[in-house]
Structure formats: structure tokens, C-alpha cells
């Protein structure tokens, strides 16, 4: 899976979780850029991404990921 493909798939997950078809995420996207992405919604997002890519984030990663770019790094690392 290429980085671009991961971003494309992430767009779909974000659109579904936040119920907003206009969302497009990039390397530097953070919770500040998406209105409903708060601490409560964060874990729903993580679980949805785990299901989409059939992988697991560790708890340490869940609490320390700084942006979507880091999220993609982990997804690609797990895919190898």
C-alpha cells in the first residue's frame, strides 16, 4: 500500500467518523483542523482506522501521535 493510498483510505474513515464528506486529511492535519475531533472522538477514530487497516495501534501510540502523518507512518510500518 502506498502512502497516497493510505491517505485516500483515511479520508473515507474520517468522513464516516465525523460525518463530513468534505474532510481531506494531509501529513500535518491535527485535531485542531477538524471541528469535531476532540479527546472523546479521538478513540472512535483510532478504532475505526484499526478496523479499516486490520491493524492495532499501541496505547502509547494512541496518546502520543501528533498528526495524521505520524498515523500514516505507523499504518505503513504495520503493513510491512
Amino acid at each position: 500500500m502506498t502512502r497516497e493510498e493510505v491517505f485516500k483510505a483515511l479520508d473515507e474513515v474520517f468522513e464516516e467518523v465525523f460525518d463530513d464528506a468534505s474532510i481531506h486529511v494531509g501529513e500535518t492535519t491535527t485535531a485542531k483542523d477538524i471541528e469535531d475531533w476532540d479527546s472523546l472522538e479521538h478513540i472512535n477514530l483510532v478504532v475505526a482506522i484499526e478496523k479499516r487497516f486490520s491493524m492495532k495501534f499501541t496505547m502509547g501510540e494512541v496518546t502520543t501521535m501528533k498528526n495524521v502523518g505520524e498515523m500514516v507512518d505507523i499504518i505503513l510500518e504495520r503493513a510491512q
Binding site: H42, I43, N44, T63
Partner: protein, 514 residues
């Protein structure tokens, strides 16, 4: 030795002199010796054993996990989990036994009495370690971070010990993470007059909040809550509205002293407050009030629950049966319930904390979320400009009142007394108390009340100015003479209007009881 005492200032200065005179590599050891001395002066020296056991267990646990990962890679997951759970239970067990034994005894006795069985209740009087609720969370966060592999274990035992008991934050927090504080404690720090000045200014600001505002407000609030029958009706609601300001100036003032003292050593602790009274919702309020506790509970309680297989499976089942929204909300509300229960019981071993400082806010947040669509529709129908200042003020006042109702239980002796205080608030509508001089009979004269009002307004204005960066930096950017004048004026205000000195014992900080 209170943080607002002269003894503390002398202790801070002596430690500061030693810290900067001694060779740089000995700085952490200087702070560790000072922290142990501080513990012995403030707490029961023999209770240090509990802290010592916690430090040793966490140090040994983290080193053992490191050894397992290196030498037993195939079994590392299982073995590390055993080590982690053992050390975690050891630390939480010490906290539970020392702080909550009587609470458990009372509740068990109550349950037994419901069965009409006669039993005699024996309570225990075990002294807990100083700051046990703070250092336990802090050290558990380090243990968990090592288990989660986001933190490398520290090999030097004394540095782990210093992280657990760094004296400025020992009594009242903030609850730091090893990645923030531990790393700074390992570094060498050069003396900087500018930095010490900044730290001293922050300490002075903390003194102002505590001695000039909080202590004066406490006179009124304590008088009313001590005699709710005599001071009923609007007295109760006045106290309810004043107490959030009292506890804010008390706790945030304490944090200013703690952060200022740490800054004098070149160490920056995390902020615990971000102008909470400007919050629009109670959820936002708790993201800006006691921030380090909220983040700890979110990262180490709520997220692990929500990400557990059971909760994910429950969410999936609910989604299939009741739809996406319910499937998302129910697990979230249950996890939040656990979080707010923990928040309540962390504040004290009483149902008044569990209900007042925990479940009440959970209920308010849940109601806010459930009724959000209705609220949005009403806003649209009424064409309310949600970005207007007036609407923001309305939302902030509403949040303030919701917080105030829960905080009322802080002052109550127990849950029943808290309910009684609220009941007394409805006994009579007595607006005449604001004009007939009733408030002058509580220990503050007219001059005191006027000055108190002015000081609260002054602190509010500084809070507004400080919303976009530190006021200290703004003052420092001006002419040095102007800066010096401002700080000397603040010192004069503390000396003239503060509650301190011989024959006066400043009550301890409210958040120092934990």
C-alpha cells in the same frame, strides 16, 4: 511549612544558592536532598517509607521490563504485563489502603446495617504520605509509559526518586510526565538572573491570589457554610457563587508559587489552568481546570477502557442493533462515568466528592451532548449569533454556575450536608441582605469588602490580558523601570492587603489535602 510561609521562601533561597553554587552535575542530587528535607519538614518523616516503596517498586519494575525485552523477546508481552500489573497494583494498593480504608469500612458497615445486622465499626487512623495522590499518579504514568514503550526507563535510581518527589510540586502537583519533567531534571542548569526574576514574579502573583483574594473570600464562604440555617436563602447562593473564585485563586495561586519556584531552578512544569472561567461548556471547563489531572485520567483511564476489546465489541454490537450513533455514544458514556468516578474519588474518600466533583459533572456533560441537537435547533430558530460576546458571556456564566453547584459539595461536611446546604438556599428569598449590612457581620468590614471587590476585578483583568500569552512577558517587554514599578506595587498590595503574619495562620491550600 506552608508554601505561603516565610520558612518556605527561606528554604527556597537556601536550596537555590546550593543548587547554583554546587557543580552542575550534582544539581539533581541537591534537589533530591532538598526534596527529602522538605518532606521531613512538612509531612510525617516516617511516612516517607511509603513513597520510598513506590519509587523502588517502579524503578525495579521498569528496569525489569527493559531486561525482559532484551533477554526474553519471545515472552516479553506476557512477562512485561505481569510486571506492569504487579507494580501498578502495589502502588494503587498503597494509595487505596492509606486513603480509602475508612471509606470502605463505612460503606461496608452501611451495607451490613441494611441487612439489619448489628456490628461495631472500627476505623483506622493511618497517616498517608505527603502528596500521595499526586506522586502516585505521576509515578504510575512513568511506569505505564515504559510499559507502552513511549518512555525509555531511567537507569539512575536517584533521578527516578527526584521525579517522584521534586519538592515544589510534591504537595499540590501539577502531575507531570517523565517526558516533560524527568528530562529537565537530568539537564544541567546555568544561573540566569532573568529566569529567577520571572520565577519570583510568578511566586508573588501566587501570593497575591492566595493571601489577598482567596483568604478573604474564605472568611465569607466559611461563615455561611458553617451556619446554613442562620445564613440561609441568598446567603447560600452567594457563597456558592463566591466559592469557585475562592478555590480558583487558592489552587491556581498555589500553582503559580509551585511553577515559579520550579522556574527559579530552570525547570518548567506543565500549566494546570488556562483561564477556565472563560469556558463555554463544562466539558471545556475541565479541559482548562486542573489540566494535568484531566489529561492523566483521559490517557491512563478513559482511553485504555475505550480501546479495550470488550468495549470495541460492545460498540459493534450496539451499532448493529441500535445504529451508529448509539453504538458510539453508550461505550463513551460508560468510560466517561468511570473517568468522572475516578476524578471524584481522587479528590477525597467521601461520597460528597464522588457525587459533587465527579458524577455531577459527568451528568452535566452527558446532558449537554444529548440535548445538543435541540440546543442547536433553538439557536437557529432564535437566530442567536453564537460568536457574539453576549452569547459567550451567557455560556460562561452558565458553565460557572454548573461548576459552582458541584463545588458546593467541596465545602459540605458530607453528601447529606451538601444537600442540606442546597435546601437552605430555598428557605427564604432575602435580597435585603445585600443592602442592610449583613455581610459586614461576617468578619470583613466595608473597607475589606470594597478592596476585595477591586482585587477580584484586578485579577480578572490580568486573566483577560493573559489569555494570549504571559502578562509577565508583556511587562518585561516594556521599560525595565515600568516592570519594576509594577512588581513592587504588587508586593506592596500583598503586604498591605494580604492575610498573613503573627497571630494569623493562612489556611492550607485546598488542593494540598490530597
Amino acid at each position: 511549612m506552608s508554601l505561603t510561609s516565610l520558612n518556605f521562601l527561606v528554604f527556597l533561597i537556601v536550596t537555590g544558592i546550593c543548587y547554583y553554587i554546587l557543580p552542575k552535575r550534582t544539581q539533581p542530587y541537591c534537589l533530591l536532598v532538598a526534596s527529602i528535607a522538605f518532606y521531613c519538614m512538612v509531612g510525617e518523616p516516617w511516612t516517607f517509607i511509603y513513597l520510598f516503596v513506590s519509587i523502588v517498586s517502579v524503578y525495579a519494575g521498569t528496569r525489569l521490563m527493559e531486561w525482559i525485552r532484551k533477554n526474553k523477546p519471545q515472552k516479553q508481552k506476557k512477562l512485561c504485563r505481569i510486571v506492569f500489573v504487579t507494580v501498578l497494583l502495589c502502588n494503587l494498593g498503597i494509595l487505596a489502603v492509606l486513603k480509602y480504608t475508612n471509606f470502605m469500612i463505612y460503606n461496608l458497615a452501611y451495607l451490613v446495617k441494611l441487612l439489619h445486622l448489628d456490628i461495631s465499626v472500627h476505623t483506622v487512623s493511618w497517616a498517608a504520605s505527603l502528596g500521595i495522590s499526586y506522586y502516585t499518579l505521576q509515578i504510575v504514568s512513568y511506569l505505564t509509559d515504559v510499559y507502552w514503550e513511549v518512555q525509555r526507563p531511567q537507569h539512575n535510581f536517584f533521578r527516578v526518586a527526584l521525579f517522584a518527589c521534586f519538592f515544589p510540586q510534591m504537595v499540590s502537583g501539577p502531575i507531570s510526565r517523565y517526558s516533560e519533567l524527568g528530562v529537565q531534571l537530568e539537564q544541567e542548569h546555568r544561573f540566569s538572573l532573568e529566569q529567577v526574576e520571572r520565577g519570583a514574579c510568578r511566586i508573588l502573583w501566587g501570593f497575591f491570589k492566595k493571601l489577598v483574594i482567596s483568604e478573604k473570600l474564605a472568611v465569607i464562604v466559611n461563615a455561611i457554610y458553617a451556619d446554613p440555617v442562620g445564613y440561609h436563602g441568598l446567603y447560600i447562593w452567594t457563597a456558592m457563587l463566591l466559592f469557585p473564585i475562592q478555590i480558583y485563586t487558592d489552587f491556581s495561586g498555589c500553582m503559580d508559587i509551585v511553577l515559579g519556584a520550579a522556574e527559579c531552578f530552570g525547570i518548567f512544569l506543565p500549566e494546570n489552568f488556562r483561564t477556565p472561567f472563560f469556558s463555554r461548556t463544562i466539558q471545556e471547563f475541565w479541559q482548562r481546570w486542573h489540566i494535568t489531572l484531566g489529561l492523566w485520567l483521559k490517557d491512563y483511564v478513559m482511553y485504555p477502557i475505550l480501546k479495550s476489546n470488550h468495549f470495541v465489541a460492545m460498540g459493534d454490537k450496539l451499532k448493529k442493533k441500535y445504529g451508529r450513533k448509539i453504538g458510539k455514544q453508550i461505550p463513551l458514556y460508560i468510560a466517561m462515568l468511570v473517568l468522572w468516578f475516578c476524578n471524584g474519588i481522587w479528590h477525597g474518600n467521601s461520597w460528597k466528592y464522588i457525587i459533587g466533583v465527579g458524577l455531577w459533572y459527568w451528568f452535566a456533560i452527558i446532558m449537554g451532548q444529548i440535548f445538543e441537537p435541540v440546543s442547536k435547533r433553538m439557536i437557529n430558530i432564535l437566530h442567536i449569533p453564537t460568536e457574539s460576546v453576549v452569547w459567550h458571556i451567557f455560556q460562561s456564566v452558565r458553565t460557572y454556575i454548573v461548576y459552582g453547584i458541584g463545588a458546593l459539595f467541596f465545602c459540605a461536611t458530607d453528601l447529606r450536608n451538601g444537600a442540606f446546604l442546597i435546601k437552605c438556599g430555598f428557605l427564604e428569598f432575602n435580597p435585603q441582605i445585600f443592602t442592610d449590612g449583613s455581610f459586614l457581620q461576617m468578619g470583613l468590614d466595608g473597607y475589606d469588602l470594597v478592596m476585595l471587590g477591586i482585587m477580584i476585578v484586578f485579577a480578572f483583568v490580568i486573566s483577560v490580558l493573559g489569555r494570549n500569552g504571559y502578562v509577565r512577558d508583556k511587562i518585561a517587554a516594556k521599560n525595565p523601570l515600568f516592570g519594576g514599578f509594577i512588581w513592587i506595587m504588587l508586593l506592596v498590595i500583598v503586604l498591605v492587603f494580604g492575610s498573613y503574619g503573627n497571630g494569623y495562620n493562612a489556611s492550607s491550600f485546598i488542593y494540598a489535602k490530597f
